[in-house]
């Protein structure tokens, strides 16, 4: 099981440090008998990278806006930068699995993935759309108005980024499939609607393994309803996997003021690949060669 611990969304180093701190704290409690210390237990969690979200959010201000009235989805000029915490963990939540129009094979894959969680993300593959909002360290939206685009920076995974074009372009005739695909956004009132094509099949859309194929047309709706809240909803149109398009419930991401991006290199202590190529007898050996 060490695979899951190391490979999941944590650097083992950070985890080790966190465990060490917890152990020291525990030792301190034992030695001093000062139970009051436990009230400080969140301290490790507030450290850099270790499980964010412990800090209480301030009372929310209205949606920040640019001079042209459009909502600002990322950090607000003149204020410290900030990021969005994890929100989405599983896409079908809310309506329930039975309301997801799985094709039979897709439901079977979904069921198998509940047992056999070899999610690509755990082996340092780029998170992919929607999945990126489920990593515990959150994301930052970096809007660059003069280049008419927005970057979504991931903290978890391989410390990578996704580009959303906001310049009114159309999709190119052919797109080489990638984990983040080719994303184009437009505003519908206060909602940024992002359409993505050209997604590959090398990631899971959520932590539960909701499946998709390269036929996926993925539409996301981002609405910053106030300073601290980003509403997120996705529509999955994938005739390869589902009998009809379906839309998730609305998820909420919470603003983390002052939460800066940090370096997180998934590969630093990830042992997932070694375990997958056969050092454990029960490990799925999907690839027999490594580069």
């Amino acid at each position: 099981m060490s695979f899951r611990i190391n490979g999941r969304d944590d650097s083992a180093m950070r985890m080790t440090r966190l465990f060490a701190k917890t152990a020291i704290l525990g030792l301190a409690i034992v030695l001093t008998g000062n139970i009051g210390v436990t009230a400080q237990a969140p301290a490790p969690a507030q450290g850099r990278g270790g499980g964010r979200g412990a800090a209480a959010a301030p009372p929310s201000a209205p949606t920040p806006r640019r001079a042209d009235g459009k909502p600002i989805l990322g950090s607000v000029p003149g204020q410290p930068v900030g990021g969005w915490g994890a929100g989405v963990t599983t896409l079908p939540r809310g309506g329930g699995l039975d309301e997801v129009p799985f094709q039979p094979w897709a439901r079977a894959v979904y069921d198998i993935r509940q047992i056999d969680q070899f999610e690509p993300h755990t082996r340092c593959k780029a998170s992919g759309v929607s999945r990126q909002f489920s990593t515990p360290y959150g994301t930052e939206f970096v809007e660059v108005p003069d280049l008419q685009r927005m970057y979504i920076m991931d903290n978890g995974g391989p410390n990578s980024y996704r580009i959303i074009y906001l310049d009114g372009r159309s999709f190119p005739p052919s797109i080489a499939p990638t984990n983040y695909g080719y994303s184009i956004g437009h505003w519908e009132g206060d909602t940024l609607v992002v359409e993505t094509r050209g997604l590959n099949e090398k990631f899971w859309m959520d932590t539960r393994g909701t499946p998709h194929t390269a036929q996926l047309k993925f539409t996301e709706r981002f609405t910053r309803s106030d300073m601290n809240t980003l509403k997120y909803q996705a529509t999955i149109d994938d005739p390869g996997t589902y009998t009809k398009p379906w839309t998730t419930t609305v998820f909420e991401l919470r603003w983390r003021p002052g939460d800066e991006l940090f370096e997180y290199i998934c590969q630093q202590s990830n042992y997932g690949p070694e375990l997958m190529v056969g050092s454990q007898e029960d490990v799925d050996n999907t690839r027999f060669f490594v580069p």
Partner: protein, 371 residues
Amino acid sequence: MRQFVVRGTVCLAVLFAAISAPAQHTLAAKFDLAKPLTLTGTVTQIDWANPYVHVLMKVAGQPLPTLWAVEVEGPIILSDNGWTETSLAPGETIRVEGFAARDGSKQISGKSVVMTRTGKPVYVGTNGTPRARPVASGPTPRWPDGHPRLGPPPGQTGYWGFPTKNSLVEDGVDVQMDAYGLLKNIADAQKVAPMQPWALGLYKLRQSTFLQADPMFLKCMPPGGPRQFEQPYGFQFVEQPEFKRVFVLMASGNRNRRIIYTDGRKQVGQIQGNDDNPLFYGYAVGRQDGDAFVVDTKGFNEAFWFDNGGLPHTEQLQTIERFTRTDMGTMRYEVTINDTGAYTRPWKSTWNLKWVPGEETPYFLCQDNRP
């Protein structure tokens, strides 16, 4: 293309007749050049993934056929040369000439891959005419306050790539290396940089083993330090003056990002004062010095190689980088290496990068073809 014509700063040209850039590892790092091998097999699958495309093929044998992986170039280079995932279809019979893998696994380098049905080579050289790429020229673009823009002018896109050096060599030193940073003559090792004896010994070891121990090759560890600017697939600068920071968004490694802070903070951590956690990209602070953007970085860990050619570094490494955009299409990169743990004195290496207008960095995930 209209904007290029209007601005008159970009002309169409073939940047390279046939693009060949090192994707990941030296041939000898993985394959034994003393073990040439020729195999004929039936293609079962094309694994079109970074850093190298693999053609899987079934080779007849008794009592059972064996499955082999043929390693050819990476998807970016193959695409630039006109090849696609469907250039070779499962079911085709191919004859492969190359070298056997050092570790004895069923892998062969695809130096030559020929379809036996047509007699035509595939995934080697060019397939048709490589597309023309625009080349940028014209004056350095600038911000309203006059300092050079490191990224694209408003409304445009582009990236920096095609470095004129692929590995660190002290300025003024003349030694011959290949595109991976392998010395033609190992006796030149001591000339490359002012290494301390232990560092020279380690450098020679890494060189004489064909850079096999490179953590980027073995584990997809990031190319931190100056190595990020030695990579063929380049990077983008994204400047955010309103938040006083500059992003380096890389194509190589795992499309990593590095942040350079220009808000006057101290080099004690990217977040609120953590200074006990050395990083792959270090703690970087930048400032403008005339037309040069100067970046001071320290706090590196030792879990990566900071140079394609395998020059060593320690946690004491500090780099001072000067980025000077001398015109629209050219960035001069000068890096001063100050590492009292590995070198006898500070030393400097300089090269240029080329602006590739109108394109995003190619999509490269080192992790792509890993299990």
